[in-house]
Amino acid sequence: DAGVTQSPTHLIKTRGQQVTLRCSPKSGHDTVSWYQQALGQGPQFIFQYYEEEERQRGNFPDRFSGHQFPNYSSELNVNALLLGDSALYLCASSFFVASYEQYFGPGTRLTVT
């Protein structure tokens, strides 16, 4: 049983560019959450998707947007990249009815230069 997978593993972008990160949830999970982990910090919640809609959102600007597909996979898009967006982006999946128990992918390391 495959766990949560994320792609790409690493990414280097330039300020002002746009980036798309992808996540496939654990088999059977229907809810996907995204977190940003800056160097030396704990992960911070960005947003959560269920039934292809954004259900919860953390304190992140509108430059951060997402999408969930009918197969429950998800994308995180960041526009107009800033140097401060450099971080590890983590995807977590769960069952909606037990969405407090989340399983994390290995993350995508984004570097903005």
Binding site: Q44, F45, G58, L90, A92, Y100, E101, F104
Partner: protein, 115 residues
């Protein structure tokens, strides 16, 4: 608002000695609490969870945590440290809103294990 505070940014122990990682929480009602571990360049792994059942929770790799409501604490312990335990540990509280749960992480405690 719910939050967790990890009282130590770094903890150093010798292999074979006990481990204690401290966490205090703040919540207006009975929370769901978790400990996650993150090894270098790896994703987060769930160690254990408390969801209002038994107050002493056993997790993987010999770790356990005790929920103490009177002290608003959820400290992580292990009787004997192993070199492979060296990693960063996060105390986490779950916030539920209209049925949707999100996780709030502490700042993390780096556990260093020396031979």
């Amino acid at each position: 608002a719910q939050s967790v505070t990890q009282l130590d940014s770094h903890v150093s122990v010798s292999e074979g000695t006990p481990v204690l990682l401290r966490c205090n929480y703040s919540s207006s009602y009975s929370p769901s609490l978790f400990w996650y571990v993150q090894h270098p360049n790896k994703g987060l792994q769930l160690l254990l969870k408390y969801t209002s059942a038994a107050t002493l929770v056993k997790g993987i790799n010999g770790f356990e945590a005790e929920f103490k409501k009177s002290e608003t604490s959820f400290h992580l312990t292990k009787p004997s440290a192993h070199m492979s335990d060296a990693a960063e540990y996060f105390c986490v509280v779950s916030l539920s809103n209209s049925g949707y749960s999100t996780l709030t992480f502490g700042k993390g405690t780096m556990l260093l294990v020396s031979p």
